[in-house]
């Protein structure tokens, strides 16, 4: 399987532009099956001024290809932490723990954070682990002095500045962005099907609230339109 080199406009000059584009799209679409693995450009080189020209180094026979910028889907976590048991409604068998009991950093900082192992141990020190392999794993991590290497589910690009404390402070409920996570079991992130799906933490979806969310009126009153203009400013979120 070879990726064709970029269509040369001069050799293809007789073909109308839209058709040429369609041809290019189709030829990309026909790439199927196994291919060479992309690697990350190394920054451990001995060279004092390391630099690369591509973030990912494509294999030799691949020309510049449009690459998805979205994180790899997360299929599993090191421990199958079940939100519905901890945060779910009592009538559903949960304990209705407050989100911020564990994710306490959210009210102060840009991060929501995951709880320190000490927080888990606060209860789990006293909970039997027999017959519960996930709790055994939890105990083993604690005894070994190793933090649990959770996989990041909501991963915004590095050039985005998202401040949890501002949203928590403004009265935005966790479920508005994260969905009804108290009903979910293990937190995973599926393959992103569409850029246009709501709740997938796309920029357009964020801007929706920044333009329309009622909390702005509630918090800012007469200054609301100015605040909305500020919320739409690129520099508010892009760093």
């Amino acid at each position: 399987m070879r990726v064709p080199h970029r269509v040369d406009p001069q050799t293809q000059s007789s073909i109308p532009r839209t058709l040429g584009r369609a041809l290019a799209a189709v030829s990309l679409l026909t790439m199927m099956g196994a291919c060479e693995t992309f690697q990350w450009a190394s920054d451990d080189s001995d060279e004092p001024f390391p630099r690369s020209d591509h973030d990912l180094i494509p294999p030799d026979d691949v020309d510049r290809v449009a690459i998805s910028r979205f994180p790899t889907p997360v299929d599993e976590q090191p421990i199958e932490f079940n939100h519905s048991i901890h945060a779910g409604a009592i009538e559903d068998g949960g304990m209705e723990m407050d989100c911020q009991y564990c994710h306490y950093v959210a009210r102060e900082s840009i991060h929501a954070g995951v709880p320190a192992s000490q927080v888990c141990q606060g209860c789990h020190k006293m909970i039997a682990t027999t017959g519960r392999p996930e709790l055994v794993k939890l105990k083993e991590y604690w005894d070994a002095g190793e933090p649990i290497p959770w996989m990041k589910v909501h991963d915004l690009p590095d050039f985005v500045h998202f401040d949890h404390s501002a949203h928590v402070g403004a009265g935005v409920v966790c479920q508005e962005c994260h969905g009804a996570i108290e009903n979910e079991t293990v937190a995973v992130k599926p393959v992103q099907e569409s850029f246009l799906e709501p709740g997938m933490m796309e920029m357009g979806w964020c801007l929706n609230c920044h333009k329309n969310h009622p909390s702005v009126e509630e918090n800012h009153g007469t200054d609301a339109s100015l605040r909305r203009a500020e919320l739409k400013d690129c520099y508010t979120c892009h760093k």
């Binding site: 799209a25 291919c35 690369s52 290809v65 760093k239």
Partner: protein, 1053 residues
């Protein structure tokens, strides 16, 4: 496909293309999110934690705030609560954070080339010390003050050895001069805020000499027209226009080696004018005559009048005057300071600069001779690189090879150290405890801001462990008093006696202090261990705390509480009343003969303003930022005058071959119009044979051209004295001058005003005192409001703006380095620099405007001007850059597609393009600021006014406007600048400092006739001479008569 817009089409093509290669995971890899095991109380992930500490790069110990994120230091900011070192940092201070992340530093102790463990190696060293016998244990190290100085002194004393504290560009001659003149065992401390006249004989006091950050703050105050009714006039008298002299108002170029004559002549004149006959007729000033030096007698007399009339300050020479009569020069300046009445006013001796014991090169030579003779069983080498700093005939490597056990306390092996040496890496000052006693009344406290990155131990901890292994006993009180009586330098005065007492040391000791007739109270506990300044201390933290308890803690209350307050503040600064010792006129022996250097060209070795004596060469920022005068990076150059260049047929594209009787070097050329025709300058700092990837085998070490020599009176190393021959070199100059245009070309860029105009018109119309191009405006259009096609955009709340004071700017480059540190700016290296692909967001441009006595060198830091009518915004095809509501020109990296049209359009050349994805080697990635993204190839970047800091400030003051005090030093450049040249703020607030400065007569817009409406304005440099006519060159127009030649569109000459 119909009905789908262009963006969605490309997205679809992108994702489906990716989906088809999805099997090989072409996406950004999934990331982990790692929690704490037990979260420390004071750390909140995402919020920086600041630790007050001190910079460890030199003995001053300026206060810093170590900004940490998630347990790692990312920045060193100045500590506003510390009076040591002023309110900014010097170049050493802002680069100091790179010491921690040096990618090539040793990660554990090394013995004989093999990694070893601490227990074994400390035991080995201890045994060696124990068996060394009298005089067998020696110390050769850098200047140390405070607790470490005491510990070193006790250690070598109790092991019956001796210590030599020396630095290559050290202060032995100044120390000797102070002893001679005042009988004081201290260095003078120059705090010259109230000086009306500043005179330097070459010392780089604003950049690297003694206490540059502190001097810079005094300089700022002395030049402040609103502080008094005067502006301090700055004279430089030296053989080379160095970095600090470049800022002078008047420069008298004198023959190298003759500075002492001028200083003595001046001292004699002033002494006579002030009626100090005892001084004027002393043997020292007898026959003082400046004419041979080339100084006009009338001008000298005029300067003497100035000095006699008002407070002043006189600095000695630097490396350029460190010749055979360096002490005479230093002594002359001290005498001059005394007869001017400066002692106790601008030159402090009571609270003199304390660098601990200061030894001379003669002491070093004796030590090296003892080493070569095999008399030294254990030598501790602390923070020095003597084989690099000293010439070949000092035979350093031979001497080191003959030492029984060589223990090097450094983060990597220095030059000339034999393979068999033991190297004990101390880590950086961000990872260790310590203190500094920079002057009486100001004691800085160093605390670690992070866990040590590697298996390193600080010098203090090593000494305590070795002392234990060698079974050393603490000195008895009698011995200790004797030590203290010997000068007590490095020990913070004797205030401890009779008060809380030296608890723990005195218990049961024989010969107890007669003031104490009861048993001393037990030492305070610190983390379960007693805090005592003795070999029995559990670690150096307890040692420091114990020393502070016995010497500084004057209360009887809770020591722990006081200690915590000191930690939060960054030290203890009680101040001390000043004393004015008397000048011992009868001790001033006759001066030595003027040094004369035969031959065509005298060689002057001068310190690099960023690399200093080479100690910062392993830090990439110090190498990457252009040296402000030459604009050169990553290499060593030779500086010659225009005439010399013409004579030899060289230009700055070629090289110069410099030959002395010791060797020859071929170096890239820098032509300095202010250089003397009989002098060639070579910069120090590079040419390391041992170092890390940034310093090893880079550039040339000019020490290979000289041989050892001393100034007889002090034994200080004589840098001056070599003559050389010059010839055109064969090779090309590998360096480029990275400082912008060569000259202003009649464009109003770096402007100046005349001092009398400034003092007479402190307020007035904006730019009244700046010779900008005044475009005539038709009053009828102005009346209708249609004279300007581009109205001011709406800024509802803030209009962030910067005011840069060119009179304060000394061209030190600290702003550039602070910006690089804060904003994750890439280091591109020498090869990219050949293509001028240099990423620093601030360009420190330097223009040579004058000549002769008024070189009028102008430094102007240039960054994105955040124009309200920006030429770059309209040409971006994807609107990656736009003008935001707060007045910033916003640059959104992920939207940029890299057409580079914006950079093409920018008249200020403020934008930088990432031609590659630059990366950070090794541990340098830990220094990156998480609040700022790193940019990829194809993306344009530029100054953002530190938007991340603005955002944080706005979050902190949610619901209100950020107060001006918070904004004033908000961006990294404004915070770090040691002369406070930057004022940031909200120009919409008329009461803000930036609004007041921007509206002042000295304030102007660079290239104002382009009507870019920038957020950055500059205040003119203040000159003491009127320059002739000509646009952009002349002073402004305070009376408002209008400039008849003002161009209207074109540039008329």
């Amino acid at each position: 496909m119909a009905g789908m817009n262009r963006r969605d089409f490309f997205k679809m093509v992108g994702v489906t293309g990716a989906a088809s290669v999805a099997g090989c995971d072409a996406r950004v890899p999934a990331e982990n999110v790692i929690p704490y095991m037990v979260q420390p109380e004071e750390i909140t992930p995402g919020i920086p934690t600041l630790y007050a500490s001190i910079c460890g790069e030199c003995a001053v110990g300026c206060g810093v705030l170590a900004k940490t994120r998630e347990g790692r230091v990312i920045l060193h900011e100045p500590n506003p609560d510390s009076p040591v070192g002023g309110s900014g940092l010097c170049a050493g201070g802002v680069t100091s954070v790179q010491e921690t992340y040096n990618p090539d530093r040793l990660q554990g102790p090394v013995d004989g080339g093999e990694t070893t463990d601490w227990g074994a190696v400390l035991g080995k060293v201890g045994a060696a010390v124990k068996g060394a016998g009298a005089g067998g244990v020696r110390w050769l190290g850098r200047y140390r003050t405070g607790a470490l100085s005491q510990l070193i002194g006790d250690f070598v004393g109790q092991s019956k050895g001796s210590a030599v504290h020396w630095e290559p560009l050290g202060y032995a001659s100044l120390s000797a001069a102070t002893k001679l003149a005042f009988g004081a065992d201290i260095l003078p401390r120059y705090a010259f805020d109230d000086a009306h006249t500043i005179v330097t004989f070459g010392a780089e006091f604003l950049h690297t000499w003694l206490n540059p950050a502190g001097h810079a703050e005094s300089f700022k105050n002395a030049r402040d027209p609103f502080r008094g009714d005067y502006i301090a006039k700055f004279y430089a008298v030296s053989s080379r226009l160095g970095n600090s002299s470049a800022r002078a108002d008047t420069f008298w170029s004198v023959k190298p080696g003759s500075e002492a004559d001028v200083a003595r002549a001046l001292a004699k004149l002033v002494a006579e004018k002030k009626g100090r006959k005892d001084i004027a007729s002393s043997a020292f000033l007898k026959g003082a005559d400046a004419s041979a030096a080339g100084v006009d007698a009338a001008k000298l007399e005029a300067l003497a009048d100035e000095l006699a009339a008002k407070p002043s300050v006189v600095f000695p020479g630097g490396a350029d005057a460190a010749g055979a009569n360096a002490t005479d020069l230093a002594l002359a300046t001290l005498v001059l300071n005394d007869v001017c009445g400066n002692i106790g006013k601008t030159v402090m001796l009571g609270s003199g600069q304390n660098f601990g014991p200061v030894h001379s090169f003669t002491d070093v030579e004796k030590l090296l001779a003892d080493c070569a003779a095999g008399k030294v069983k254990v030598l501790f080498l602390d923070g020095l690189d003597p084989a690099f700093s000293l010439p070949a005939d000092a035979n350093v490597a031979d001497a080191l090879a003959k030492v029984g056990t060589l223990v090097v306390l450094a983060n990597s092996a220095p030059e000339g150290v034999p393979e068999s040496a033991i190297i004990l890496p101390p880590g950086s000052s961000s990872e260790a405890w310590g203190d500094s006693a920079s002057h009486k009344g100001a004691y800085g406290l160093q605390q670690p801001a992070m866990q040590p990155l590697y298996d390193t131990r600080s010098v203090g901890d090593v000494l305590l462990a070795v002392a234990a292994a060698a079974s050393l006993q603490d000195p008895t009180p009698a011995e200790e008093d004797e030590e203290e009586g010997k000068g007590g330098k490095g020990k913070a005065g004797k205030g401890g006696k009779g008060k809380a007492g030296k608890a723990g040391r005195r218990r049961g000791a024989i010969g107890a202090d007669k003031d104490e007739d009861e048993e001393a109270p037990p030492p305070p506990q610190l983390g379960g261990q007693p805090a005592i300044a003795s070999f029995a201390a559990a670690d150096f933290q307890r040692y420091v705390a114990g020393r502070w308890h016995s010497k500084l803690f004057t209360g009887s209350g809770d020591f722990g509480k006081w200690w915590r307050e000191c930690l939060q503040r960054g030290g203890f600064f009680p101040g001390v009343p000043e004393t004015t010792p008397k000048l011992r006129a009868n001790k001033l022996a006759a001066a030595g003969a003027t040094q004369s250097i035969s031959g065509d060209y005298a060689l002057i070795l001068f310190p690099h303003s960023l690399l200093y004596d080479g100690r910062h060469a392993h830090k990439s920022w110090a190498q990457e930022v252009p040296e402000p005068i030459s604009g050169y990076t990553w290499n060593t150059w030779a500086e010659i005058s225009t005439a010399t260049a013409a004579k030899l047929g060289v230009d700055d594209k070629g090289s110069l071959r410099i030959s002395s009787d010791q060797g020859a070097l071929e170096l890239g050329v820098f032509i300095n119009p202010a250089a003397r025709d009989d002098v060639v300058g070579v910069v120090m700092g590079n040419g390391h044979k041992a170092g890390n990837r940034f310093s090893k085998d880079r550039g040339f070490n000019p020490v290979s051209l000289i041989k050892k020599g001393v100034d007889a009176r002090s034994g200080d190393f004589a840098w001056l004295g070599t003559s050389v021959t010059l010839a055109k070199g064969a090779s090309e100059n590998p360096m480029e001058q990275l400082k912008g245009s060569e000259d202003m070309d009649h464009r109003p860029i770096a402007l100046e005003s005349y001092v009398d105009d400034v003092l007479e018109h402190p307020t007035g119309e904006m730019s009244a005192l700046a010779a900008i191009h005044r475009i005539p405006e038709d009053a009828r259009l102005v009346e209708k409001g249609i004279h300007d096609m581009y109205p001011e955009p709406e800024h509802p709340t803030y209009r962030f703006a910067l005011s840069v004071n060119l009179d304060n700017c000394t061209g030190c480059g600290v702003c550039e380095i602070a910006c690089i540190a804060e904003n994750n700016i890439a280091i591109t290296g020498p090869f990219q620099h050949q293509m001028h692909r240099y990423m620093s967001w601030i360009r420190l441009s330097r223009f040579f405007v004058g000549e002769g006595e008024n070189p009028d060198m102008r430094f102007i830091p240039m960054m994105c001007q955040h124009c309200a009518h920006a030429p770059c915004e309209g040409v971006c095809p994807v609107v990656a850059t736009y003008h935001n509501l707060d007045g910033l020109n916003a640059m959104i990296y992920n939207r940029c597609v890299g057409t580079r049209y914006c950079a093409n359009n920018c008249p200020y050349s403020a934008r930088r393009f990432n031609y590659h994805t630059f990366r950070w080697p090794g541990a340098y990635t830990l220094q990156l600021n998480p609040a700022v993204s790193t940019r990829e190839m194809g993306v344009m970047e530029k100054c953002s006014f530190c938007i991340q800091r603005i955002r944080d400030a706005k979050d902190e003051f949610r619901g209100e406007t950020v107060p001006d005090e918070v904004l004033e030093h908000l961006p990294a450049c404004a915070q770090a600048c040691p002369t406070d040249a930057f004022t940031f703020g909200n120009r919409k607030d008329e009461k803000s400092k930036v609004a007041i400065e921007s509206a002042s007569p000295r304030s102007y817009i660079v290239l104002s006739d382009l009507n870019t409406k920038p957020g950055v304005q500059y205040m003119t440099k203040i000159n003491f001479h009127r320059t002739g006519g000509g646009h952009g060159d002349s002073h402004g127009d305070p009376e408002g008569h209008g400039d008849a030649d003002a161009p209207s569109g074109g540039d008329h000459h």
